[in-house]
Amino acid sequence: MQKLLLESLIKAPFTEPAPQADTVALAELATRVDRAARARLGRSLSIRQVDAGSCNGCELEIHALGNAFYDLERFGLRFVASPRHADVLLVTGPVTRNMREALQRTYDATPGPKWVVAAGACARDGGLFADSYACVGGVGAVIPVDIHIPGCPPTPTALLGGLLALLTKSA
């Protein structure tokens, strides 16, 4: 273990430069994030992730945000355990009818000001599951969505870009 620890002191970090904030996401956001909210939150965001019916592909890539290559905590972005601690809900999946109430209640439990980020193709409009009797079809059908990060699943870089869009205002 000592050797591993020592090596990690000598080796260059895996961490890579941040992706450019997605311009579409930024434009969408600029109208919503006002100066007052930014002043209150500073450059740090607490994120509560909610799986509202995804296939777990999105969760795998959201997990990857925490690995040494992306290391999202260096941006002041962190995942929290309760919606009551969160500024942002990061929601995945074609909201299933069985999860609809849980999502709504999670949203209600999140204190304002709050933002909703819908991650993945399903979260936009239900994706491949849009026609199902068991799905509501998109996060926006249940709670208001501020930005959507496309992809099936979105890559960690795309996720990071979208989340940074919440922090960085377009020039």
Binding site: C55, R97, E101, L128, Y133
Partner: protein, 505 residues
């Protein structure tokens, strides 16, 4: 003892079902099969329904041959299998929710996937309007002094899928855990009904995102069996290459995550790096980090021309060098062993009863691996070991995964050597002139995945059923946690890492 084939020999053979036999049996024979399961003669592979029939896939392990038994249900009922064989219970409850067929004498008749929130009932059977009033779900009880309940979920504290756990505890000790799943039910099988093969394959690949390659492969094998199609050799090797990369990525991620749940974050950091490197190699070679939609019925979807496998070769070099140090680290840390050894034990007898596959079964003495017992190409020509332990605790499940990582690293090496450098990777599928049925079984990282498909004329999917390995692992988690402390639940749960989405479908 009569073999499975002898037992169902009295049933009517369905000609268009490949590669394993399907026979239409009568109710007494259906019950005899249930009794045979109870006596441990064969292993339950799946149980699913249609509007007026139920099907049961079984494996005769001694003969190494699966078979499907079907029972017509003209009056809308069928004899419960779960009355003989408890592992069938959840499958049966799901079947009843989806098709409306009632299991007579079922030990548990509560709904399972249907939470009373859809706008219809029996989506795969005679559809009915939703019930106006839904009684509250009756959790099982535990009586005793000082017992209290801890409800957890469906929204959990971490980045995981939704499900509900109802703990009954005495102080810190768990006396009963009851799971309630179905929150991520997306109606995949109903969406597949009437869909094109292409759309069905995309849906199969999103049944459980962490096993997208294995699911797509299972469905592809079922479709190819139904059509009698033989895929190009290069496609077979590429499928195995992707499947082993998927196994590596998941095992790396989970080994790290289990250690992290025991408050040993260093392992997560190092394993997370390895996992990311696997995904990047996959992306470089196949254009998608999780390799979604790359395995398709008829072959694989990869860029034409020779494939540059340098990223995968580099990955194998890096991982082969880095992994032994991590294994040593895991093995030498007393604080870690203190949490994993003796925690969350699944007794071998219980694992055997549930016919549980994957690392959960193999950590409890069950040597089943579809790549070996029902060897499909190219695994029939590859050298690998199936590691087995008998302790059945968290530690054993970690060690099985460690050994499987080593096997997969070696397998990728063999596959790269054998992979034809160039050539056809996909064939067009033949037309379907009448109903044809196929079944496919593929070993995913979590265990064996079953796909059963019936194609109708016009190459439309008439009915498709997918069975995740988690169906037979989730119930064992309920047993494993008993007597452990609540704080060890994340550790037990992570060492199982059952799929919610694959189970809920």
């Amino acid at each position: 003892m009569a073999t499975l084939l002898d037992t169902i020999a009295g049933g009517h053979l369905v000609e268009a079902h490949r590669p394993y036999p399907r026979r239409i049996v009568d109710a007494p024979l259906w019950q005899a099969l249930g009794a045979g399961l109870h006596e441990g003669h064969w292993r339950l592979l799946g149980l699913w329904g249609e509007p007026a029939a139920v099907h049961m896939a079984l494996l005769d392990e001694a003969a190494g041959l699966p078979a499907v038994a079907s029972l017509a249900c003209p009056d809308g009922t069928f004899p419960s299998v779960a009355q003989y064989h408890p592992p069938a219970s959840r499958l049966e409850r799901a079947l009843c929710d989806l098709t409306g067929l009632a299991a007579t004498a079922a030990p548990d008749a509560r709904p399972w996937l249907d939470h009373g929130r859809w706008d219809l009932r029996h989506p795969l059977g005679q559809r009915l309007p939703a019930a106006t009033e839904v009684p509250p779900y009756a959790f099982l009880t535990a009586d005793g002094e000082g017992l209290h309940q801890i409800p957890v979920g469906p929204v959990h504290a971490g980045i995981i899928e939704p499900g509900h756990f109802r703990f009954t505890a005495n102080g810190e000790a768990v006396v009963r855990l009851e799971q309630r799943l179905g929150y991520v039910h997306k109606g995949i099988e109903a969406l597949m009904t009437g869909a094109s093969i292409e759309r069905a394959a995309r849906l199969a690949g999103r049944t459980s995102g962490d096993s997208t390659v294995a699911y797509a492969w299972a469905l592809a094998r079922a479709v190819e069996a139904a059509l009698g199609a033989t895929v190009p050799e290069r496609a077979v090797w590429l499928r195995a290459l992707m499947a082993e990369l998927e196994r590596l990525a998941n095992h790396f991620g989970d080994i790290g995550a289990i250690c992290n749940d025991a408050a040993f974050a260093l392992m997560l950091a190092h394993c997370g790096v390895l996992r990311e490197q696997v995904l990047r190699a996959a992306n470089a070679c196949f254009g998608h980090r999780l390799m979604m939609d790359r395995v398709v019925p008829g072959g694989v979807e990869v860029a034409p021309g020779p494939l540059d496998t340098t990223p995968i070769r580099n990955l194998i070099d890096v991982a082969t060098k880095a992994f032994p140090a991590l294994v040593k680290l895991y093995d030498n840390k007393a604080s870690l062993q203190d949490r994993t050894v003796g925690t969350g034990i699944v007794r071998p007898a219980l694992a055997r009863q549930y016919g549980c596959g994957g690392y959960v079964g193999r950590a409890s003495g069950l040597a089943f691996d579809a790549r070996r017992q029902l060897a499909y190409p190219p695994y029939d020509g590859l050298r690998f070991e199936v590691p087995v332990l008998r302790e059945g605790d968290v530690n054993a499940r970690v060690w099985i995964r460690i050994r499987e990582v080593e096997q997969s690293l070696a397998l990728v090496g063999q596959i790269l050597k054998a992979l034809p450098p160039d050539g056809l990777t996909r064939i067009p599928l033949a037309e379907v002139d009448g109903p044809s049925e196929g079944v496919g079984l593929v070993e995913g990282f979590r265990g064996d995945i079953l796909a059963w498909v019936r194609l109708d004329a016009g190459a439309r999917v008439g009915r498709c059923h997918l069975r995740d390995p988690s169906w037979f692992q989730w119930p064992l988690l309920e047993a494993a946690i008993e007597g452990n402390i609540v704080a060890d639940f994340p550790l037990c749960n992570k060492s199982f890492n059952c799929s919610y989405s694959g189970h809920d479908l």
